[in-house]
Amino acid sequence: MKTIYLDNSATTPVRKEVLSEALPYFSEVYGNPSSFHSTGLVAKQAINKSRKIISKILNCNENEIIFTGSGTESINLAIKGVAFVELLKNKGVAKGHFITQKTEHDAVLESFEWIEKLGFDVSYINVDKHGLVNLDELKKAIRKDTLLVSIMYANNEVGTIQPLKEISKICHAQNILFHTDACQGAEYLELNVKKLGIDMMTINGSKIYAFKGSGLLYLKNGIKIEPLIHGGGHENKMRAGTENTPAIIAMAKALEIAQKENKKESVRLTKLRDYMINKIQKEISKTKLNGHPTKRLPNNVNFSFYGIEGESLLLMLNEKGIRVSTGSACSSQSLDPSHVLMAMGLEHGLAHSSTRFSFGKYTTKKDIDFTIKELKQVVKKLRAISPVWEE
């Protein structure tokens, strides 16, 4: 059976071009980039080259890029890094205020919840029914002691794209730092940090056809954060540990290709996205599109199907070779449905029935046609046995 992988927002396969670029750095150019001999220096040069490639894409200096072990790590570094500076400054007393919003990834929310335990204040801004952050509420939440605002670029579940430039203006008017989690959409969206007005930006490798266990944090020069990992002078003393050379090479290559292809690919996927949305709305009764109709990632389709529980839908599609994800509690480690959909005001039943189809570079129209055909049957089958569904 053919696999139709529609879970690219969870992770992407490694592209062949990316893999072949990185392969020599496992067994041939294997030196420790910190070593002073030739074997090490070659690896160091390769990392420097990658840093240069990425800095051009982000429009920043090379020393503003910190390579990390994941998007989650970069996020932790940005948030806790700012908090720890304050802790040190105030001799261990947590003083200061942070702002984020309710549909952030758990890496952001749980980092904030943890610094709240240390004694910092955090405000969690609401979103509207489409998942867009409420800018008036953001303005009102700002205090004299607000240190950092962290708001994601695009949402991982529903694909809603936040107005980063406007948020940046609000933050910078008050001299507040602005971090964005750009793990979703780095493949398709503008990454020029100067144009966007970003102070810190998280990107990870596993969603852009590079390696899992790789990430980076853009940190604007002049901003002081404390490292989370100590033990060497790596990455401008911001992240100790021998550099993961192949993963860094892979990330640079992946971003380079994405930069070249993203305009064309965004157009192709947006067409495919809207095709699927229209077809589902036309051919399946009682559905709800989750997320913003237009301000959404080109590769994201997210629907709730009345009367159906998401995990059952996911596993029945899985039997047909189609891989999707759901916001249902049943597929999570908690017993609550997606916090993203709840923040957007969905009732429980609809949150439990939400299903995400996230496209990628290998997704074709044929895949989508097949998916819709199977989806119609599975929805019919599950509605037939549902006590909360009446024709």
């Binding site: 995990e311 596993l315 249902s328 509690a329 009732e347 429980h348 037939a384 006590p387």
Partner: protein, 151 residues
């Protein structure tokens, strides 16, 4: 290279019951002459279960159900319906003693987080028997009135 590994989250028997649930109601109009009805669960937790039973000579001879729920909710209720109706039907008193653990055992296990939230067929059955007991004034059936637990 072929990578070996489990490709399913649940056991084979769970998968079988999920993909081909037994005694399931696909059309409510087909339900006639039932002796007891039970409903359990709520939308907050994401599982709602309905059950209809037929009773003859104190044995459960038919057990039909339907659900809004995850794979383990479907599979566990399917299994329960088989357990109470196999071999000519289970005596009511014995059926009332079936626990989530008994069902889980027959399914060759469920992920622990799933047992509490999704195995609710045993609860639905108690509601259905209670319905039968009160409608037919069967004071001889000894049971506590079922109460909704937080799923």
């Amino acid at each position: 290279m072929q990578v070996e590994g489990e490709s399913w989250f649940y056991s084979d028997i769970v998968k079988k019951h999920f993909l081909d649930p037994q005694n399931i109601v696909k059309d409510k109009k087909t339900i006639k002459d039932f002796d007891g009805y039970g409903q359990v669960g709520n939308m907050k937790c994401g599982d709602i279960m309905e059950m209809w039973i037929k009773i003859k000579e104190d044995k459960i001879i038919d057990c039909k159900w339907r659900t809004f729920g995850c794979a383990s909710a479907i599979a566990s209720t399917s299994m329960l319906s088989v357990m109470v109706t196999e071999k000519g039907g289970m005596k009511i008193d014995k059926a009332l003693k079936i626990t989530a653990q008994d069902i889980t055992k027959r399914l060759k296990g469920l992920p622990s987080i799933k047992i509490h939230c999704s195995v609710m067929g045993d609860q639905a059955l108690k509601y259905a028997v209670w319905d039968y007991k009160t409608k037919n004034k069967r004071d001889d059936i000894i049971m506590d009135q079922p109460k909704e637990t937080d799923h």
